[in-house]
Symmetry: C2
């Protein structure tokens, strides 16, 4: 049983940022009731690739949740929703700011019905500020938030991160905010609103770029896979790809030169200290590329590991998922989905010693838990059939 | 007062992953006591650039914490540490697995002294598995974890994300785990251990790449700033840089063609449906680059905004920090540091309605809170002076 197994989450989220947040809560044992539009459900149910008609994308970030279809604009739908709000601990939504207010379901309204409710709104720009009502997409936010301006092979090529990390960071910071508010509620009995913006999250994770800019007034630029102030700490070409090497100090640099059988580099005065190597990286990298291109990544990895020089491959996704460490950590989980069949989803990276955090259920098919959820709040089979026929659920 | 204002955190972390976790807890009001090596402290105190001798990097991720210097290998240092453990709610460390056990401070030992303790270990590969004892660096983990294999301008150029997001994700997932365990403790009175690995976190955030691989057995590759299945949803060249445009549907595509005064593109049968546009992106992108290169990013942004076509700039760090939305959300905070003077740090992306989450204190200078912390647990000024002279604090 996960640590949140006493909690009920109403999940009004779609696509990625919000669903990633509620996935994290579900992985820790919370009961997550995903409320979806009757007929089509979460937009991401349409995202390919599909397996027996079920979206692999949807299934990966909605594992362990329950699905209730509900037309929030119909009177009966609203009635059902408000009954669920009364019993909920947490509500998460990632609509554009204003949408929930229009529905009459903003925090101010819902807290009157349930003052214990923790209400988390995850959005592109946040509930306040001049851009608040703008639509947001991960690409746009990665660009506006500065991360693209420091990612890429060179300063002329600003590059998007290959996964939608503006969405994902909004999801995880939302989870942190919810759990912080939960601790406060465990003390006071009072819920509150948590407001998380994708753009804010991007600023929060710029790391040394902010310190560098505010101290020096220089805009950092993309520098490929190099480290700004340690060398060699970068990717080097091999005969079949690349290898990452991390020579954090002079001793490791000397060991590295031995392993690659270029002892003269360790003695070269251009490469004596870390500062020297940083200053001459443009000369050093081609030399290393030439040398390591004489053999394969796995050849060099084995030699460097023996010499205790930190190094690693640039794994493709298939290699990651078959890596012995990833398997040992249970980071790829097999689930049996009633329609899609056997599916694989990433595991949870939070490992508890006492309260299990194991993914046990697949993602729901659309409306899979309508009966279960509605009957629990007092609807009879006949009433449920009626709601169904009217298209309310 | 933040929601965690009743909690005491013992912080044994260094550099980034652990400090980012405890920063999040400090931002939410927890009292974070950072235990540092006497003399030098956290390695990151040496990371440039410096301001009046204080590291801008260190100051940004250690704001709001207290610093206690302590030699954990000395007998008296250990005695002090164990006194602090007795009173602590949470302990966070990011040593290589095994280091805390060697010190006698592993979870099994500390839980005997304080069964309420929540002990979070953040490491490169986790406390278990074949690579557990290996050292980890962000670059190595981004490579091994697959993110580099899907980031970059083209499939020949796997690229590291410009900020150390393997570290940062380990920090935020650690915070989630700690807060999950905290809720469980609020119910049961029992603490537990939380084990978070940077590599696991990378697998957890690969997003659609895992679904795509497990469904199709094809390894995703870097595709620059394009979207894998929507077009045009990418960066386009302008006369002074780039602009990100996100035409999520046919209507937006038509509007976009109007704005850029290329209505014939909307009628071109190669670009009729989204699938058509995806299939002909290699032809379409140069056309868009040529057209938008005729004017500046800000010229196009203004026109596209008027037409409600989602678009955005690729902001440099200075532009991000001066953006009206970023300022409105208080995402750049000015603090007065006793030595460095005025410093700026990123704000917290978690905005609470009731319990403030404001950054109020700068990062500590090394050992700044020795007296305060030691006197609270019963040491007299004379004893503290003695500990100081012996180099224990």
């Amino acid at each position: 049983m996960g640590p949140l197994n006493d909690l009920k989450v109403l999940d009004l989220t779609r696509v990625l940022a919000g669903p990633f947040c509620t996935m994290t809560l579900a992985d820790m044992g919370a009961e997550v009731i995903k409320i979806e539009r009757p007929g089509t459900g979460d937009d991401s149910r349409a995202f390919g690739p599909h397996q027996n008609g079920e979206s692999a994308y949807f299934m990966s970030i909605n594992r362990g949740k329950k699905s209730l279809t509900l037309d929030l604009k119909s009177e009966k739908g609203r009635e059902i929703f408000l009954k669920l709000v009364k019993e909920a601990d947490i509500l998460v939504e990632n609509f554009k700011p204003g949408v929930m207010k229009k529905l009459g379901f903003d925090y101010e309204s819902l807290t009157k019905i349930n003052p214990r409710l923790i209400y988390c709104a995850s959005s592109g720009f946040g509930q306040t500020g001049p851009y608040s009502s703008r639509p947001a997409y991960d690409l746009i936010i990665q660009g506006m938030g500065g991360l693209m301006s420091i990612t890429g092979p060179d300063s002329a090529t600003p590059t998007k991160v290959g996964s939608s990390i503006a969405d994902i960071f909004a999801g995880v910071f939302s989870a942190i905010g919810i759990l912080g508010a939960l601790h406060n509620r465990d003390k006071t009995g009072k819920g509150q609103m948590v407001d998380v913006a994708m753009l804010d999250c991007m600023v929060a994770i710029l790391e040394n770029a902010v310190a560098r800019y505010t101290t020096t007034n220089q805009n950092p630029v993309p520098i490929g896979n190099r480290h700004p102030s340690i060398a060699p700490f970068t990717s080097v070409r091999t005969s079949d790809g690349f290898i990452n090497v991390a020579c954090g100090n002079d001793l490791l640099w000397h060991k590295f030169c031995e392993v690659i059988e270029r002892p003269e580099l360790a003695k070269d005065e251009r490469y004596t200290s870390n500062a020297d190597r940083c200053n001459h990286m443009d000369e050093l990298i081609p030399v290393l590329n030439d040398t390591l291109s004489e053999n394969t990544t796995s050849f060099w990895l084995e030699k460097l590991e023996k010499a205790h020089v930190p190094a690693g491959p640039i794994n493709k996704i298939g290699e990651v998922l078959n890596d012995p460490q990833v398997i040992a950590r249970n980071m790829l989980v097999e689930l049996m989905h009633p329609v899609a069949g056997k599916v694989h989803v990433p595991g949870t990276p939070i490992k508890f010693s006492e309260t299990n955090s194991e993914i046990v259920a697949p993602a729901p098919v659309l409306g899979e838990h309508n009966e279960e959820i509605l009957s629990k709040i007092g609807y009879s089979p006949a009433e449920i059939a009626d709601l169904n026929q009217q298209g309310i659920v």
